[in-house]
Symmetry: C2
Subunit: 223 residues, 2 copies
């Protein structure tokens, strides 16, 4: 069985590999994500490579093997289903559940996972709009526009909020920016780095381009 540390290394490797065309994850990015010093990541990655869970290309980075990806997807599925349970069933704050799931993802058996999945009605996404890997190991990689890149004036549906920090999620929540909400970009001022937004029947407000880029949106008529 994979230890908690191994599960965390594999899960973060999967997440970092997503935004890298060749799936190669630099050692430094992995170390930062896991909050360890670079030397620790190197040591661990070599051990993971010995176990056949990753391929280590010295000085270039690492990538998951098929087996490593299988384990990582299972952990990610647990993480996101647990978050969904905590929000939908236990009614916890969506800003808190990431930290909780970070622990629970390692303690839940596959048997409990299946029951949770059924109880929740086999959800496709978690409370933040993050896709939940299927039991078979498929993970949606759909890419959307963001409030920093979308057309102005059009009505758009929020589909995903890609920042797990409690502060950002609390801010988003306060302005009604959760998956399902409808909003339109009134104005985008690139020199100032500001986006002005209005939710359906609410007062307009502004946020930075950096913050806007974390909110993914889709046309209202779709799905």
């Amino acid at each position: 069985m994979a230890t908690i540390a191994v599960e965390n290394y594999l899960k973060h490797t999967l997440l970092l590999a997503q935004r890298s065309p060749d799936g190669l994850v630099p050692m430094g990015e992995l170390a930062t994500a896991l909050q360890v010093v670079p030397g620790t990541a190197t040591t661990m990655v070599k051990a993971l490579a010995d176990s056949g869970l990753v391929l280590h290309e010295p000085r270039r980075g690492l990538r998951l093997t098929v087996e490593g990806r299988r384990v990582a997807l299972n952990v990610l599925r647990k993480h996101r289903l647990v978050e969904t349970f905590l929000v939908n069933v236990l009614k916890m704050d969506w800003a808190q559940v990431h930290a909780e799931a970070e622990q629970l993802e390692h303690a839940i058996s596959d048997a409990v996972l299946d029951r949770l999945d059924a109880l929740l009605g086999h959800p496709a996404t978690d409370p933040h709009g993050d896709p939940i890997p299927s039991v078979e190991g498929t993970l949606s990689s759909a890419v959307y526009a963001t409030l920093a890149s979308c057309a102005t004036k059009a009505s758009l549906r929020v589909v995903r909020v890609t920042d797990q920090t409690a502060d950002f999620l609390t801010f988003a929540e306060a302005h009604g920016l959760r998956p399902g909400a409808v909003a339109q970009v009134l104005d985008r001022n690139l020199p100032a780095g500001l986006v002005t937004l209005r939710r359906l029947r609410s007062k307009p407000f502004a946020l930075s381009l950096a913050a806007a880029g974390k909110i993914w949106v889709a046309p209202v008529e779709a799905g």
Copy 2:
């Protein structure tokens, strides 16, 4: 924060101290319960004593400090509430949930614990009839008769099944011996070590005195 190992040592110390009038737990019993060799338990207990969680009386045993007992009760509360959740909400087999809870008890935060407790309606006992410690840290120590010690012929209500092994629980379940069930002892043959039992409107069956001693019962009119 206490590590998983520390939490397990404290929880098992609490459980073993329950059936010892002075609360002193011999090192060997603790080692057996935790499935480690005696030397490992000695080493760990000395570390726990340094942390102020137990008192170590060399060659005699150990006992929990007030702080150690507080931590142990919190872990036990998590264990038993998780078992209750797994059986009552996720409809899992009561023979499986002990092993699941053994992991989950270390991954659940106090915030999640409170929500679970509310969702379950603040239960007093878990699916096996084991008392759930209160948030304030009180734990019922009520002692009942067992099918090995109770009066014969009288109708009795099962209140607790004190063996967590899957085999025994599956056997008990198969004969309807779960908390709430009503049964009577038809006969007790001490030389043969056999107890003959009948549940309400069911065929009589026999089990060993050892097995009968694990089923706790109370008069039907009580509680």
